[in-house]
């Protein structure tokens, strides 16, 4: 089976046998020679074909005027009108798309032709600048294929962006004679200005049978939900004018209307609004007495005042987007670009890309009948929300409105998502602006569950050769009631673990895993042997924790299963003198990390650590043999946005057996190294994810004046 996604390796760290160097060189040389030969032969074999088949395309330097002319006989067939009942499962041939490992549809573009009727009259303009840009974008994208037989979607090169620029019947005939037309199945047409006078239909009038329509200005009656795609009306101004993004903050006007061709009825309602609310409302109109040479489209007037358009849009918090003869308005694009929150007043209008975009976050939709209440409705929106809507509006423009390329790719992606729904782009990816994506977290364990106590936890002890101490840890930990399994990770390749008979006899299964290399990351590998959610990572020298303390730690973890719950706490501090982060292990009032020498956490984080650790942190840790615990703290805090939970009072965390070799100097080196780790990780993560808190968790009755024997966890904090 071809899966796009990499599968987790569930069998343990791979053990790659090292070939002897001599042999390796031999193999590599042999391999390269064969490979070179292959490439040469392959090129020889296939090169002529590709040149041959693309002969009519190799002439890159061509003009639009040179394209072949096709004459349409007057009686050539006309497709049926659009079928309003079409849906993907009735009118779309999914078999053409197939199952492919990349989950990408293949899009074919017909080559450009010039269509004329029997009398040699042009059917339409050959191609507009925008449609050419759109087709170029598709052709450059990974959706594109030049093989008509492998295509799933066909895009005609017949430009129907503007219905007024074409002859309806003849265009339909041109569509019908396309080589793969087949009643329009799997054909996609792009149209931005549908309808024409006097009734202005809300969808393209060209008969198109089953073809999908990416249209600007659909109404809920013409839009076939789940089949058509609603697209914006592109505003060429956005290519001409550069409006830098404006930060949040008050703007001069509260409501602005900039449209020129408004129905007098709307205009009078807007003017009434202006009269009522004074200077905060600005209603602009076309300028009547402009001097020659000034483009009328770039100016707006109110009485005698002249404003630059679209710059004036940036002066307002809200900008009115009213329907004209058509529902879709190019002004929407200008308004979004200016970071002005659109107030959309167009009943039954299907907003652009509404299948995936959450317009409530970027706009205010007001029913036409409620236009007189517009001011009070907008006043009721909290300022913080307005700022977010402005940011969101601008982001929609940047991502989906700014160019024909953006419009084309969003349209194809929407169709792609329908065909491969299990690989579809999520709501967050479509809607969250980069600033939100950056500052927010999406917790992979978001469901508030308190895992059942009965499943217990698996203790994972990382050990090298301190067998005596290890056995003591095993004996101590095995006394904890909720322990369900003990896993010893034997990290010493030069020495075998003790014989079975020598291990302490404990009431739960004890497994020993031998590793291929002495790496710290072995501690965080998601071993199949770990069958519980909860993992207790414990060092082979942590013998001072009581059974009550460990059991209580497990209970606390159950209440916070998405956090690191540990015993010794540590803190990171900003060193103002050195201008960098500093590691702190003193008795502080705050914690931001717990040591994984003794900590509970969810097994999921083992996956994250092993497969999703950002940058080179994992290898860096293995190479430096230090800071794996800090890396884990960073990882968990970064993905959940939450702090660690330190449990129970502080103890002297040193094994009594260990001789006091660690003099002052050793301690200091240690601190310096740990500080370096923090700075290194913070730079890899691009932020400081650790959260500082002032609390720790104790049993409810800890140190309360209450008979010890009635407490659930009496033996806490004893030294």
């Amino acid at each position: 089976i071809m899966c796009a996604s990499a599968k987790y390796n569930t069998r343990g760290p791979a053990l790659i046998p090292r070939m002897k160097t001599k042999h390796r060189i031999y193999y590599i040389t042999l391999f390269s020679i064969v490979l070179l030969g292959l490439i040469a032969t392959g090129m020889f074999q296939f090169w002529p074909h590709s040149i041959e088949s693309s002969s009519d395309w190799t002439v890159e330097k061509r003009s639009v005027h040179d394209v072949p002319v096709v004459k349409l006989p007057a009686d050539s067939p006309i497709p049926e009108r659009g079928d309003l009942s079409c849906r993907m499962h009735t009118c779309f041939d999914v078999y053409r798309c197939g199952f492919n490992p990349k989950n990408k549809i293949k899009v074919y573009i017909y080559s450009l032709k010039k269509y004329v009727d029997e009398y040699g009259m042009l059917v339409s303009n050959t191609i507009s600048r925008e449609y050419n840009e759109l087709l170029t974008a598709i052709s450059d994208s990974e959706f594109y294929t030049d093989d008509v037989n492998r295509a799933c979607l066909f895009v005609p090169s017949i430009d129907v962006l503007n219905q007024n620029a074409l002859r309806i019947k003849e265009t339909a005939q041109a569509l019908a004679q396309l080589s793969r037309w087949d009643r329009g199945t799997n054909h996609l047409l792009f149209n931005m200005l549908p309808g024409g006078p006097p009734d202005y239909n809300t969808a393209l009038d060209v008969p198109r049978d089953r073809a999908l329509l990416a249209g600007g200005g659909f109404s809920t009656w013409t839009y076939r939900q789940g089949y058509d795609v609603s697209i914006p009306v592109y505003s060429p101004l956005s290519g001409e004018v550069d409006l830098p993004e404006r930060g949040p903050g008050p703007r001069r006007y509260f409501i602005l209307s900039s449209q020129m061709a408004l129905h007098p009825e709307y205009r009078s309602e807007l003017e009434a609004l202006q009269a009522e609310n004074g200077e905060s409302v600005l209603v602009l109109d076309k300028c009547t007495n402009l001097s020659d040479g000034v483009p009328a489209v770039r100016k707006r007037c109110c009485k005698n005042q002249v404003f630059d358009y679209p710059q004036v849009l940036q002066e307002s918090t809200f900008c009115v987007v009213l329907r004209g003869a058509r529902l879709g308005q190019a002004v929407l694009s200008d308004v979004l670009q200016a970071g002005c929150v659109p107030v959309i007043i167009a009943d039954s209008y299907i907003l652009p890309f509404s299948e995936v975009l959450d317009w409530k976050r970027a706009s205010v939709v007001i029913p036409e009948e409620k236009m007189p209440e517009m001011y009070s409705i907008l006043q009721s929106i909290p300022q913080r929300q307005i700022e977010e809507m402005q940011r969101q509006a601008r982001w929609f423009w940047e991502a989906y409105f700014r160019s024909m390329k953006a419009i084309a790719l969003a349209t194809l992606q929407i169709i792609n998502d329908r065909i491969y729904p299990y690989a579809a782009i999520s709501y967050e990816e479509w809607n969250d602006p980069p600033a939100v994506k950056w500052s927010s977290v999406s917790n992979p364990l978001f469901l508030p569950l308190i895992p059942p106590q009965s499943q217990g936890f698996t203790a994972v002890v990382l050990t090298y050769d301190r067998v005596e101490s290890l056995f003591r840890v095993i004996t101590e930990v095995s006394k904890v009631p909720s322990l369900s399994k003990l896993l010893v990770v034997w990290n010493n390749q030069n020495k075998n673990p003790p014989e079975d008979s020598l291990w302490p006899k404990i009431r739960v299964p004890l497994k020993v895993v031998r590793t291929a290399e002495n790496k710290l990351s072995n501690r965080f590998f998601p071993y199949d042997e770990i069958e519980t959610e909860a993992v207790l990572a414990i060092d082979d020298d942590i013998i001072m924790l009581t059974s009550d303390e460990l059991q209580f730690g497990y209970e606390v973890w159950r209440e916070f299963p998405d956090r690191l719950v540990g015993y010794p706490g540590r803190l990171h501090l900003w060193d103002h003198e050195m201008n960098k982060w500093k590691y702190e292990s003193e008795w502080t009032n705050e914690v931001s990390m717990v040591l994984t020498g003794a900590a509970f956490y969810h097994k999921y984080f083992n996956y994250l650590y092993t497969y999703k650790m950002p940058g080179d942190i994992k290898n860096w840790v293995d190479a430096h043999m230090n800071c794996e615990d800090i890396a884990m703290n960073f990882l968990v805090a970064n993905v959940t946005g939450k702090s660690v939970i330190k449990v129970t009072p502080r103890k002297k965390f040193k094994c009594p057996e260990c001789t006091a070799i660690d003099g002052l100097s050793l301690d200091q080196t240690h601190m310096v190294e740990r500080s370096e780790c923090i700075n290194k990780f913070a730079s890899v993560f691009g932020t400081m994810p650790l959260k500082v808190v002032e609390h720790r968790a104790d049993p409810v009755l800890y140190k309360d004046d209450f008979p010890e024997k009635l407490k659930s966890f009496p033996n806490i904090g004893s030294l």
Binding site: I1, V94, L161, P448, E555, E559, T640, H695
Partner: protein
């Protein structure tokens, strides 16, 4: 060994080479040449004169679109009303918004007529509406109307089918062509076509219907609801089956189906093909031919063996042990299987082309289900196999969230339907798609409170906000003294001493007027006095005076020190969606009496934090007052001492998490213990293992000793009534308390930030 390896390697290379020479044409698509090919791809030409091309519309045309002398907007809207009716209804053409303006969103159910029994399920739907906060008895103020005629089963072969509906409806003076009516339906059409037809003229009524097909669904007008069985609980509802986030999230089976195989008729296309994907290992697809009376007539060669296999597996066991569950169409588009799979955290794989998914207007099903295509059944196994484990884990959790938020009871299904319709009335005050699809779900988020995510306690992390850095102290005064007592003066002193205190609000709930402003202690923070009514639920009214996210709720006789307040507030900032407080109590199940018990004694657990001293988010005031139905608040007002339990139950129902207890000074306890001891007396058996002979510790007492036992049993009653109303016990227990990091550690007091918390 080495030589053998070498040979294998060489043979492999040689065969590869050969393949290339002879099978090159097929291979080149996948080989190294595909990269090279990309360059030679025949792309869309770069025209030499592309910069000279004309724009698709000149700017003038774009900006001055159309002819202003067209139909006026008002005329056009009027024209719509006649054009877009019945099957083309939209809210703007078939719904009278003006009915909802004066009294808001109120729902009226037609009175039950005699001799007109309704099915059990319809009875549940009607009672859900009656229980909703939108219900009204007055048709004059109603915005939405619901028939008393049972319209759920419109299969005229069914026993529940009601005849002559058209005639009956015409007799209703309120019908008005179906305008502003909502009609519920679960089954429509009958053998063999199973069309969406209801068998009567629904006119302009909104349909809330199961198995809706996209063809007849009127977008933005109708509501698609899930098919649910008549055993579906009225309220509460069973929780989902996912108890833990297993890693890896895979279960024993990858994909399962167990159900009927239609040999003929509608839906047989898919049902007849399902057995093809059965592999007997991780994909179990079992079909039986046994259904209907004459199944043996259509029997084919598979039937006998399939029927035997079918009996070997238990449906519930398959649900429990599979990662994905196939939910194919039946005769109709929706099936019970959908909700069953959702509850079981078995990710639904939908094979029901053209089904308008339940509540799809609000719910993003792409996050909880795999929407397959009936035509691509054979691709399903490989498609689901390729879904990344991380995504599977997220899917599983989302099924549980959706199940619990919108589907687990008839109440939730009906209330979701109502909220979706209500949201359409004022689009600017409605829930974004994000709110519907994120915990705690749309029903618990009131757009009337705010439309800004940062104003709610739930979304801080997802959107990178943080709760406000200050709090409002909210003190409730009920004593009859008329003057200010010593405790309240001390309390104001202590609270205003906190660096995080933004304001103090006093809710004066005495008959006597509050003392003049000169009598109140001078403090550095502003002090506001609100004259309250004498209702207990008043203390959780969303007063406009409260301007911070955090509320510190206090009783007048609560005793707290400034450092206690400071520490608790910092803890609350870490858990803004929970109640964080000092004195706690706990609940337990009393198997002997078969009811919930309640204890205020010292226990190793806690599930209720007294609101006499607790931090919580301001939003819970709104939720308490707006979301809970009036009946429940009246219950609380009647019981005299239950409002804080209701608040705890509400927050637990929203968050599914326990409250948080923080350290308290010893001194507090001693003052209180004396009074509290007599109050709780000997009644109430503490749960086994929690026998506590020692002094109980509880909220400051404000009642006389003799009232103690009454108060206790009232609180216990209250707890049981609330559990009954919610349909389950929302409270969750916790075993921990949060203390300052160095609390009682053997280290110099000078190092400690909160030394005073340790003073005896």
């Amino acid at each position: 060994m080495q030589t053998r390896k070498k040979y294998i390697f060489l043979t492999f290379l040689a065969s590869w080479l050969l393949l290339f020479f002879f099978g090159g044409d097929q291979l080149r698509r996948f080989s190294v040449f595909s990269g090279r090919k990309a360059e030679a791809r025949r792309n869309w030409p770069r025209w030499t004169d592309r910069s000279l091309l004309k724009s698709f519309a000149d700017p003038e045309e774009l900006q001055r679109d159309g002819d202003p002398s067209l139909l006026s907007p008002r005329e056009r809207r009027a024209a719509w009303l006649s054009t877009y009716r019945s099957s083309r209804c939209r809210m703007e053409t078939c719904f009278d918004f003006s009915k909802c303006e004066r009294h808001g969103f109120k729902v009226f159910t037609y009175p039950q007529e005699r001799g007109q029994p309704v099915s059990e399920t319809y009875g549940k739907i009607l009672s859900s509406i009656t229980r909703s906060r939108y219900h009204t008895l007055n048709p004059e103020e109603a915005c939405l109307f619901i028939l008393s005629i049972d319209t759920l089963d419109r299969d005229h072969l069914s026993g529940q089918y009601v005849r002559n509906v058209d005639e009956k409806i015409r007799g209703f003076p309120l019908w008005n062509g179906g305008r502003n009516h909502l009609i519920f339906n679960l089954y429509s059409g009958t053998w063999p076509g199973y069309t969406g037809d209801l068998g009567f003229d629904t006119g302009q009524a909104i349909l809330a219907k199961a198995s809706f097909d996209t063809g007849s669904f009127r977008p933005g007008f109708d509501v698609s609801i899930p098919l649910f069985s008549k055993e579906h609980p009225q309220r509460g509802g069973d929780r989902g089956w996912l108890y833990q986030d297993s890693v890896p999230p895979k279960k024993k089976y990858l994909l399962v189906f167990k159900g009927k195989r239609y040999l003929t008729g509608i839906g047989s296309g898919t049902r007849n093909a399902l057995h093809h994907i059965h592999n007997g290992k991780d994909i179990i697809s079992l079909t039986t031919c046994k259904h209907g009376k004459d199944w043996e007539k259509h029997k084919d060669t598979r039937c006998d063996k399939d029927n035997v296999d079918y009996e070997r597996f238990d449906y519930r066991e398959l649900l429990h042990n599979s990662t994905f569950c196939i939910v194919p169409r039946g005769r109709r588009l929706g099936s019970f299987r959908f909700l069953e799979a959702l509850q079981a955290a078995c990710i639904p794989v939908l094979l029901s082309d053209g089904w308008e998914l339940p509540f799809a207007e609000a719910i993003d099903w792409g996050k909880a289900a795999v929407v397959g295509s009936e035509r691509l059944l054979l691709q399903i196994p490989s498609a689901v196999r390729c879904i990344h484990p991380e995504r599977v884990l997220a899917f599983q959790q989302q099924t549980q969230f959706l199940w619990d938020a919108y589907f687990s009871s008839v109440d939730k299904i009906v209330h979701t339907t109502l909220e979706i319709i209500k949201d359409r009335l004022s689009p600017h005050r409605s829930r974004s798609r994000f709110l519907w699809n994120t915990l705690p779900g749309g029903l618990l988020v009131l757009p009337d409170f705010s439309t800004h995510l940062g104003d709610f306690p739930f979304y801080y992390l997802q959107h990178g906000y943080s709760p406000s850095k200050k709090f409002t102290a909210f003190i409730r005064v009920v004593s009859q003294a008329g003057s200010l007592s010593q405790p309240i003066l001390r309390l104001i002193q202590a609270v205003s001493g906190s660096q995080y205190c933004a304001q103090i609000v006093v809710l004066w709930s005495c008959e006597k007027p509050p003392p003049p402003s000169g009598k109140w202690p001078q403090s550095t923070v502003p002090l506001t006095i609100i004259q309250g009514r004498r209702k207990l639920s008043d203390r959780f009214y969303p007063f406009g005076a409260i301007q911070t996210d955090a509320v510190l709720s206090l009783d007048e006789d609560t005793s707290l020190s400034t450092s206690e307040v400071d520490f608790a507030f910092l803890v609350w900032r870490s858990f803004p969606e929970r109640i964080v407080g000092f004195p706690t109590q706990s609940h337990f199940w009393d198997p002997e009496q078969g009811r919930w018990g309640y204890t205020s004694k010292w226990t190793n657990e806690l599930s209720i934090v007294l609101t006499a001293a607790a931090f919580y988010h301001r939003y819970y005031h709104s939720l308490f007052t707006e979301y809970l139905p009036t009946g429940l608040r009246e219950l609380v007002d009647g019981l005299a001492t239950c409002e804080d339990i209701l608040m705890n139950v509400l927050v637990a129902a929203v968050t599914k998490l326990p409250p948080i207890k923080v350290t308290q000074r010893k001194q507090h306890k001693e003052v209180v213990a004396q009074q509290a001891e007599c109050r709780d007396g000997a009644e109430g058996t503490p749960p086994p293992g929690q026998q506590s002979p020692s002094a109980p510790r509880s909220a400051p007492a404000k009642v006389k000793d003799t009232n103690g036992s009454r108060r206790f049993s009232q609180r216990q009653d209250c707890l049981n009534q609330l559990a009954d109303w919610f349909g389950y016990m929302p409270l969750v227990s916790s075993q921990l308390r949060l203390d300052p990091v160095l609390f009682k550690d053997q280290v110099s007091v000078l190092r400690k930030k909160y030394p005073s918390l340790e003073k005896p």
